[in-house]
Symmetry: none
Subunit: 232 residues, 2 copies
């Protein structure tokens, strides 16, 4: 088999081993040609194969970049799961993991601006993109304010639709915190990622037009498949 093809296979292996990560640059053609002991044109031929597959793309004067296949999840004033995904021509799906009604914790009560004696509704869901589970959300909502929330949500499987039925036509983020966590075995199993894979965790409050908090929630994104695009 020709050399350029073997180099192509070698590079492809490196890429699948995450030696070169999405969004990063490859070593220059010059460096690669030295590493494999071939002329630059031979390397270019190998790289061309990877470019054809959409794995790499090059920028004249700059370098060769590993194509970033991670989904760009927009976080702005209004964050809408399904719409976000439909906009990129992907297929969204939401499944419910569990729900629970219990007294609010101190933090939950504070963030929802409710009395800590009140009950809250907790919903955990998995969001799938093209059938791949990649997003896990834990929502806390005042059960006193929205007593029928879960019944409606169970059918609609959409926060936006559920709130619309409940008379809340618009809502937006009060704030969003982003941190990083490692997936434990349970999360790894749910999100189809490896144990200790990095997860992006957002903690946020959605409020209505009167600035009253609706939900206090946390969402975990699989870092290998999703990148958060912060907007202003």
């Amino acid at each position: 088999m020709s050399i350029y093809y073997q180099i192509y296979e070698s590079l492809k292996k490196d890429l699948s081993n995450n030696l070169y990560k999405p969004g990063e640059k490859l070593p220059s053609e010059k460096v690669l040609s030295k590493r494999f002991g071939v002329n630059r044109h031979t390397i270019r031929r190998s790289l061309q194969l990877l470019k054809n597959e959409g794995i790499l793309f090059s920028k004249r004067g700059s370098g060769i970049i590993v194509h970033d296949n991670r989904f760009k999840y927009k976080i702005g004033k209004r964050v809408r799961f399904s719409q976000n995904i439909l906009n990129e021509n992907y297929v969204p799906e939401t499944t419910i993991l569990r729900s629970e009604i219990r007294k609010a914790s101190k933090i939950e009560a504070k963030n929802l601006e409710i009395n800590s004696k009140h009950e809250i509704l907790l919903i955990e869901t998995i969001g799938k993109i093209n059938n791949v589970p990649s997003i896990k959300t834990k929502r806390v909502i005042s059960n006193k304010r929205f007593p029928d929330f879960f019944d409606i949500f169970q059918k609609q499987l959409s926060i936006t639709k559920t709130l619309k039925i409940l008379g809340v036509n618009d809502f937006f983020r009060k704030n969003t915190l982003v941190t990083a966590e490692q997936a434990d075995s349970i999360q790894a199993n749910l999100l189809h990622c490896k144990i200790n894979s990095p997860l992006l965790k957002t903690t946020y409050i959605n409020q209505d037009l009167n600035l009253i908090p609706i939900e206090y929630s946390q969402t975990w994104f699989v870092g290998e498949r999703i990148q958060l695009a912060l907007e202003n």
Copy 2:
């Protein structure tokens, strides 16, 4: 006697008269065929005999290179590349193929006696003898213990010198394993040998005077040109 054989003998005479020196290129097949007034294929047949004897080596697109005969590479308690070659009045040269910093694999961590979470520095080099690439080495060194190793090595191009600068004045082999492998097309290209040519592979650990491992490395020698001389 056939023409191709006479040309072979003529070329061999030129080679033994040092008309074409080791490391240098022969005139191209086109030029040679014109000089001897024969078809290119006839010249190729003559050259093939010399290639079979290991005197010549051809590189597609580049030309035909003159090689040396067998080099005796000493493997003892202290193995020093440059010194080994200088001792035989040959010219050593080291070029870097690539370097990489990443987490240690299980085997690497075990052999270096480090925690598997620690990072290692990987360096791949080609060793040339009289300008003929004949030795390929892949080194694994604790990046935690020697964080500046690569910067120094890049300038010194010598393990011995680099370690001296880093305060390690002497080091020696803990063990050496010798096995045989076949050259794949990438290695063949790098080492100027044929595909499937036998390579001598040594796997070894160098340790300092306190018996602490410094490097866990593997070296491939072109079997046709280098013989290992084991010492006690």
